[in-house]
């Protein structure tokens, strides 16, 4: 009869195994480990995200570098977004990080810095001022921890913008919202016409967060979240924060978001599909969705049916409606556990291959704005020129380009935030309870 006990123990420990086992899963590609590998010459390893169009462009830069530097090769390995986030953390924790760590900067980078796992690039940027000076200055904020630069800003700027479906707006006979009040008054009109006012992939949680990011900024200015980020006691109880949270719940109660939004994931692009199939009228999302909507939406984008604008202001709010939120860039760090030769290869890659003229052109062709100064002069020739100029205008015109909250905060605080945001949007907690819950973990 002890077989039953054995089963119980075996099943129970499986859970423990799941936790302990994951910690030891290193990179699967041979020679991929920067630190543990024992040094394979001056070749460096580089992990980054898969999926079009970024994967092809990143790979092309690696290929160009490898062709020009036969003695110092870079070996690339790709991962899916969510898988990568877990993988890179465990790999770094196990001392098996790749030489070049692809990331989002901010709070995640800070946790690597505190563990001493990434190289301080400040002296290198001083020696190579030309590399630094050609990039958007705003892109360095999320790469800078306690006054030192730990990552090379790269790739593209991705603000979050309000998209709208022109066909649906014409059908219902309304104009895009110029203020929060406009937006609220559009909600019943779309609902009466049988169209969801706003598409939202709420299961992903950070999608809900984007609404709060803009509401906080438009109502109280960037200081409201800055106080949270700085760890000020009770910062979430700021009246502007409470007002923003309340406004978000008002929108939910008015059926502003598509039915079933809390079971829609952004990873599946179902939220974008709602917009381009005309089932929803508006969507607040990152500019990275432009590419996938052009690809998946048939002639929706090419036919000029996609409208876009910066988030409107809130009547009586203190915030500047030119401010924006999103990804000010992507961030490449160098593992401090890599050998000197590997680090040299990585630095050479940063200065010669990252955002080279060829790469800049590829990003623009893919419908994105690289973080290189003066890139706007090249935008005109693109088939997406209007959209790219709009994005460039937002990025260069914003007084404040805030980093997404979940990227800016530490992973611990970010998880707590996303958890509470999901409950707020589920209407299972009040704005006041949200503020209380979040005040408890401030500064963590």
């Amino acid at each position: 009869m002890s077989r039953r006990n054995f089963l119980g123990l075996a099943a129970g420990t499986a859970a423990g195994l799941a936790l302990a086992g994951c910690g030891s899963s290193g990179p699967s590609s041979p020679g991929g480990g920067g630190g543990g590998g024992g040094g394979g010459g001056s070749g460096a390893s580089y992990w980054f995200l898969s999926g079009p169009p970024g994967e092809q462009i990143r790979q092309a830069s690696v290929d160009r570098f490898n062709k020009d530097n036969p003695e110092a090769q870079i070996k690339a390995t790709t991962f899916q977004n969510d898988a990568y986030k877990t993988k890179i953390k465990t790999a770094i924790g196990a001392g098996q990080a790749p030489t070049i760590i692809w990331g989002w900067g901010g709070g995640g980078l800070r946790s690597y810095v505190q563990a001493g796992q990434v190289e301080d690039l400040t002296p290198w940027f001083e020696q190579n001022a030309a590399v630094k000076d050609r990039l958007f200055p705003s892109s360095f904020g999320a790469a800078t921890i306690d006054g030192k630069i730990y990552a090379m800003p790269a790739e593209t700027v991705q603000p979050i913008v309000l998209y709208w479906n022109k066909k649906v707006f014409d059908k219902v006979g309304v104009q895009p919202p110029q203020s929060w009040g406009d937006l609220m008054s559009l909600v019943p009109k779309f609902n009466d016409a049988g169209v969801a006012p706003i598409s939202l992939g709420g299961q992903s949680r950070w999608t809900n967060m984007m609404w709060l990011e803009f509401l906080f900024d438009r109502i109280g200015g960037p200081e409201v979240f800055q106080a949270v980020f700085d760890g000020e006691k009770g910062a979430w109880s700021n009246p502007a924060a409470i007002e923003g949270l309340t406004k978000a719940q008002e929108l939910i109660k008015a059926n502003g978001f598509v039915k079933g939004f809390s079971s829609i994931t952004a990873d599946s692009n179902a939220d974008q599909a709602l917009l381009y199939t005309g089932k929803a009228a508006m969507m607040l999302h990152g500019t990275w969705t432009y590419g996938s909507m052009s690809q998946d939406g048939g002639d929706f984008v090419s036919g000029g049916n996609l409208g876009y604008m910066n988030f409107p202001g809130v009547d009586g709010g203190k915030g500047d409606p030119t401010d924006t939120v999103g990804n000010p860039g992507q961030y490449y760090s160098i593992s401090s556990k890599a050998t000197d030769a590997e680090k040299e290869t990585a630095k050479k890659f940063f200065s010669t291959a990252v955002l080279s003229d060829a790469e800049v052109k590829e990003w623009i062709d893919a419908g994105a704005v690289p973080i290189v100064k003066g890139a706007d002069s090249q935008l005109g020739s693109s088939k997406d020129a209007d959209f790219l100029k709009f994005v460039y205008g937002i990025a260069s015109g914003a007084k404040v380009f805030a980093q997404s909250w979940d990227q800016a905060l530490s992973p611990t605080a970010a998880e707590k935030l996303l958890d509470n945001i999901a409950k707020l949007f589920q209407l299972s907690i009040t704005p006041q309870q949200f503020a209380n819950n979040m005040n408890q973990v401030i500064g963590q």
Binding site: A11, G16, G260, S263
Partner: protein, 308 residues
């Protein structure tokens, strides 16, 4: 760790010749024991140690005494996750047991078409949980799913976006996946019931229903306990299916213990508290297995064929 002891052999003092045989049998159990030790006991000890430390998964592991335990035990998320775990456990047990019992009894017959049906019933078990979850998620999508596609308002609910419905869907999908397995167990057990008992009952004039309740059900007592143990302990470690289907949502409506552990460890980078939750999970699993054994009457020698 007493439960690690190998099954106690009923014989008291074997003869010399049999002694040699049982020695070689013990020797053969060694590889399995080693694997069990290396991949189950050792990580378990590691998790226990980790629960007394503070570690973000990246930096150095620092001893932290009872900090993690205090954090976990004072977090309202733990009782909630326990409640959700038990709710899903109880509901899926109550849903699966009668259905798989009846199906098992039905399939224990000997007609040919039943074997074809048995093969069909078995199919869900062959699919991976992740694939099942993705499929159901697509089918239940309120805007692009089955209900919207066929214009059936009844099916066009916010299945995974409303707390109560989401729990129901999880229970349903779990049952859909595992009923075939338990059906198989019951089918085998029913076939072992001696025909003579039914023949005797028929002579006494008992009908089908009466035979089911008076013979089949009592004879399946131990099978029910075995199958229930597997269901109950198995439902403690549901992770993949719920993770893909709802990610614990909406809000925290389907956040079971295993998901809470994952979120603490790998999303919030709190390995200490996550390890404490893992230890709690193991303890709950052990307690449940022992409890079910108690309910089952414990004595290993009692035969199902008594009175046959």
């Amino acid at each position: 760790m007493t439960t690690l002891a190998p099954p106690a052999l009923p014989e008291t003092r074997p003869t010399a010749s049999r002694g040699g045989r049982s020695g070689s049998v013990a020797w053969m159990a060694l590889p399995a024991l080693l694997i069990f030790f290396a991949f189950a006991v050792l990580p378990l000890v590691g998790v226990l140690l980790l629960s007394f430390t503070s570690w973000d998964g990246i930096g150095v592991i620092k001893p932290a005494g009872f900090d993690s335990w205090r954090a976990v035990l004072s977090d309202p998320g733990l009782p909630h996750a326990l409640w959700v775990t038990f709710k899903i456990m109880a509901l899926s047990w109550a849903f699966q047991t009668p259905l798989s019992l009846l199906l098992g009894v039905f399939l224990a017959g000997h007609q040919r078409y039943r074997e074809l049906l048995a093969v069909l019933f078995f199919i869900p078990l062959l699919l991976s949980s992740a694939a099942i979850a993705i499929t159901y998620k697509a089918l239940l999508d309120p805007n692009f799913g089955l209900g919207a596609g066929l214009h059936l308002p009844l099916l066009t609910q916010d299945w995974l976006g409303e707390a109560k419905l989401a729990v129901g869907v999880v229970v349903f999908v779990v049952s859909w996946q595992y009923i075939p397995f338990h059906t198989l167990i019951y089918q085998g057990a029913v076939r072992q019931i001696p025909r003579s008992m039914y023949e005797a009952a028929q002579l006494d004039g008992a009908g089908r229903v009466r035979m089911f309740f008076r013979i089949t059900l009592p004879q399946l007592k131990y099978t029910i306990i075995t199958s229930s143990t597997l269901m109950v302990v198995g439902s403690l470690v549901f992770f993949d299916l719920i993770f893909v289907l709802t990610e614990g949502g909406p809000g925290d409506a389907t956040r079971v213990l295993a998901l809470l552990m994952y979120k603490q460890g790998f999303q919030a980078n709190l390995m200490g508290p996550a390890s404490a939750i893992a230890v709690i999970l193991v303890l709950v699993g052990l307690a449940l297995a022992l409890l079910l054994r108690r309910i089952g009457g414990g004595s290993s020698s009692s035969s199902q064929l008594e009175g046959a």
